[in-house]
């Protein structure tokens, strides 16, 4: 028996040494493989573009069109690229209701499809396109106008160079982009919408960002050490000066919830460490951050950015010219306008961004969850007026 124990020990030691050696052997082999080859490649040329998916598809189509094709008839040729089939159609095409196609389509004219059609792959249209109600698409890029009738479902993205219309209750899985105008029907949904003009159906083309005569008379609140020490003007505006702390020369912090009862013209950046309720008719010339919910009253003008750790509600008839960014939900009230003279605006919600009727912006509506245009039922439930019904 005694001579068995050393053998066991030796075996154990060999096994241990072997495992120890193995990890360094694998490490050394891996090092020899990557030596001289950059392993942590990043895209140094990365530029964020809202219509990246569509541009990428257009580039690929351009390459595919250089490949040899099989002529099917005088209007159509087929290109095979690996397992992909690309059908190139000269002139326009019209699909009857209920038709189905699982090939990539390149249409060199107008494209129309009837109700209930199903397209399993991407489509590039070099004219205008109209999609019938209840159709199902993968993705579509259009070099013209694109109209989706009601209840169309798009799995990924839509892009066009003209006017893009999302009909009632249309659903797009990811991005909707246009270099022209995007019109949104009631109940339409998408991951994001980006265009020089994004508007609900009834938008009259106005941006309406001018102040009213009443706003010109609003008391201006600019925080400074002297103004806070003087107390009167700040307290009259509804602030508790004990809760105000200077962050920097142009920013102040308010410790606690802030609820103002009379409108004001805010001229200093403000960080509210609670929720923030602002009354109707305010003019916000500087950025506001609220850790809690941020509610901006109706007919307010927001020239600064609005940031919230929770939800943001922009009241009816408000205008904004900066960024709106909430970790939770964002609701843009009826008649909201988002326009900026020298750039674009963005409203982003970490969860859901809900758009009421008659909203128009220049820029982007986006959400971590979904951008949803208020449905007809929801509008009615809110006591929508008869004029709202014509929004559709």
């Amino acid at each position: 028996m005694p001579d068995v124990i050393p053998w066991r020990f030796i075996l154990f030691a060999i096994l241990f040494a072997g495992l120890l050696y193995l990890q360094f052997f694998l490490a050394h082999r891996q090092w020899r493989r990557i030596k001289g080859q950059q392993t942590s490649e990043i895209d140094v040329g990365y530029v964020r573009m809202e219509d990246y998916l569509a541009q990428s598809f257009r580039r690929k189509v351009k390459e595919w069109l250089q490949l040899p094709a099989t002529i099917r008839n005088d209007r159509e040729r087929t290109i095979l690229k690996g397992s992909e089939t690309i059908r190139v159609i000269t002139g326009g095409i019209e699909f009857a209701s209920g038709e189905q196609c699982d090939d990539i389509l390149v249409v060199e004219g107008d494209f129309t499809c009837g109700p209930g059609c199903l397209f399993g792959r991407e489509i590039l249209v070099k004219g205008n396109a109209r999609i019938g109600p209840g159709a199902r698409l993968q993705s579509m890029a259009v070099d013209g106008d694109l109209t989706l009738d009601w209840d169309v479902k798009v799995a990924r993205w839509l892009d066009c160079t003209g006017e893009l219309t999302l009909g009632v209750n249309c659903l797009v899985g990811a991005r909707v982009t246009s270099t022209g105008l995007i019109r949104l029907g009631l109940g339409a949904q998408a991951g994001s919408m980006y265009a020089p003009r994004v508007a609900t159906m009834a938008w009259d083309g106005t941006s309406l960002n001018q102040e009213t005569p009443e706003m010109a008379k609003l008391p201006g609140i600019a925080f400074s050490e002297a103004a806070v020490a003087a107390r009167e003007a700040i307290e009259n505006a509804g602030f508790d000066v004990q809760k105000l702390i200077q962050l920097g020369s142009d920013a102040w912090l308010y410790k606690g919830d802030l609820r103002l009862l009379s409108p004001l013209r805010l001229q200093t950046k403000l960080v509210v460490k609670g929720k923030c309720d602002l009354p109707d008719g305010c003019v916000l010339e500087a950025d506001i951050h609220a850790d809690g919910a941020l509610n901006v009253g109706a007919n307010s003008i927001c020239r600064g950015n609005l940031i919230s750790g929770k939800d943001i509600h922009l009241g009816v008839g408000s205008k904004f010219a900066g960024l709106i960014h909430a970790d939770g939900n964002v609701r843009l009230g009826q008649g909201t306008r988002g326009f900026k003279d020298d750039g674009m605006v963005v409203a982003y919600a970490g969860e859901v961004l809900e758009v009421e009727r008659d909203v128009a912006i220049k820029g982007k509506l986006a959400a971590g969850g979904r951008v949803i245009v208020e449905s007809a039922e929801a509008a009615e439930a809110r006591g929508a007026s008869a004029s709202g019904a014509s929004d559709d």
Binding site: A27, T39, S40, G45, A251, D287, G304, H325
Partner: protein, 450 residues
């Protein structure tokens, strides 16, 4: 008996401290996997365009100066709202001439030549900040490769008025040069992809790293500017900002190439400076951190974890020495040796696994799964770093006792030259032009064959 008591104390200290850090590694790695990012600044990229000044401090940077300036003049930021201040900080080589050349050719580039005054990065930044016209300052070290959208990505978080500083992610480009560089690549990935992002997700303070980052001028002024006395002015600024009520944002997607040390001596000097600077910040800021009303308890705990992190190296060495003393001691001790030894060995398994777990998660998130095979070699890096940090901190504390300074500011050695070994796929000395801007600010790709 006293020696044994001291040994038991240090062994216990080592076990407690290192176990706490091990738990922290696990928490961060798991939170990085599980928690959603609190705010996706990428969706705001390009919509917030404040007047911005990019500061590039350079001391004897002729090897790399042209690359960084070329990258910056090619960025896609609105030219009317951008200036680049290239700071020639007492250079003795051609750095000044290269800067002047760019200033003559590009109106957005301004040259600042410093031939006197205090040396070091913070002093150079202090002087440049006085001349900057932007409301936001972005900082890049001379050996970095900012991509065309980097400025837009880094300024986006400043749309939030409570953000005082922003940090992007650095990714080493020379990880294929030496084993050390490859290991430092893993370490950086864990630090940014897991550590910084997890800290941001948890509402803690990501660290402003002094490069590939930015600071709001009003925030900087509110804390009396750069600390020219600090060896790690970035860490110092991070904590002074949060003590004042500002927040630091982290943008993981704002990735920028950097160069990591390829040789052990260069690495030793780099980490010695970091260790000294961090620990110096700890000594200056701990009373303010403890008494702060703007920080939550969790933020305070995390701040101490960050500032004390380099102290773990000498504590570990003391723990090793203590365990040796206890092991060879013939006497019986108040604490059973076996239990202590088991705990310590347990830490070695547990602690290393925690670090390795974090490195592995980072590699996984980066899509570089096979890089985890290099991790056993990280032991070499671990022992080298432990030794370098301990030596630096010994010098630091001896300096405090004898009234002399610790290690001085050391500029990390550059391993490449202008236009050479650049990571751009086209092999040119300039970043590829991928886009053109049309009406209404919409970008379109112009690269073919992609």
């Amino acid at each position: 008996m006293i020696l044994l008591f001291i040994a038991e104390f240090f062994l216990g200290l080592a076990i407690v401290v290192l176990t706490l850090y091990a738990v922290r590694h696990y928490v961060f790695a798991l939170c990085r996997l599980a928690l959603r990012r609190p705010r996706d600044y990428m969706e705001l990229t390009g919509f917030a365009l404040p007047r911005t000044t990019v500061l590039v401090p350079m001391h004897n940077e002729e090897a790399v100066a042209a690359d960084i300036l070329q990258a910056l003049v090619e960025c896609d930021y609105d030219r009317t709202r951008l200036e680049v201040l290239a700071i020639n900080d007492n250079s003795e080589d051609r750095t000044g001439a290269i800067i002047d050349d760019y200033a003559a050719r590009f109106s957005i580039v301004r040259a600042i030549h410093r031939h006197q005054g205090a040396g070091g990065k913070a002093a150079a930044l202090q002087e440049a900040t006085r001349q900057a016209t932007g409301e936001v300052l972005l900082l890049f070290d001379a050996d970095y490769f900012p991509g065309p959208s980097m400025v837009k990505q880094l300024v986006a978080p400043f749309s939030d008025p409570q953000v005082g500083a922003v940090m992007g992610r650095v990714v080493p480009h020379n990880t294929d040069k030496t084993l050390l560089a490859a290991l430092l690549g893993l370490e950086r990935a864990a630090g940014y992809q897991v550590g910084q992002q997890a800290r941001y997700n948890l509402g803690l303070t990501p660290q402003f790293g002094g490069t590939v980052g930015g600071v709001r001028v009003s925030a900087l002024n509110s804390v009396a500017g750069w600390n020219t006395e600090s060896l790690t002015e970035d860490t110092d600024l991070t904590f002074r900002l949060v003590l004042h009520g500002w927040k630091v944002a982290y943008v993981n997607r704002a990735e920028c190439y950097e160069e990591v040390p390829e040789t052990w001596p260069a690495r030793e000097r780099q980490i010695a400076r970091w260790a000294t600077g961090h620990t110096d910040c700890l000594h200056r800021l701990w009373p303010a951190l403890l008494s702060s009303r703007s920080l939550s308890l969790t933020e305070k705990v995390d701040a101490f974890f960050v500032l004390c992190c380099y102290l773990t190296a000498p504590i570990l060495i003391l723990g090793w020495l203590a365990s040796l003393v206890l092991f060879f001691s013939p006497q019986m001790h108040s604490v059973p040796i076996l239990a202590v030894a088991m705990l310590f060995v347990g830490y070695q398994i547990f602690g290393n696994q925690a670090t390795f777990f974090e490195l592995g998660i980072a590699a996984l998130l980066d899509g570089m799964n096979r890089r985890v095979l290099l991790m056993p070699c990280n032991l070499f890096n671990f022992f080298a770093s432990t030794s370098a940090i301990s030596k630096a901190l010994l010098r630091f504390y001896l300096g405090k006792v004898w009234g002399s300074g610790g290690p001085g500011w050391y500029k990390t050695r550059r391993f490449r030259t202008n236009g050479k070994e650049r990571p751009f796929a086209n092999g040119s000395s300039t970043a590829p032009k991928l886009f053109s801007q049309g009406a209404d600010g919409i970008y379109t790709y112009s690269r073919s064959g992609d």
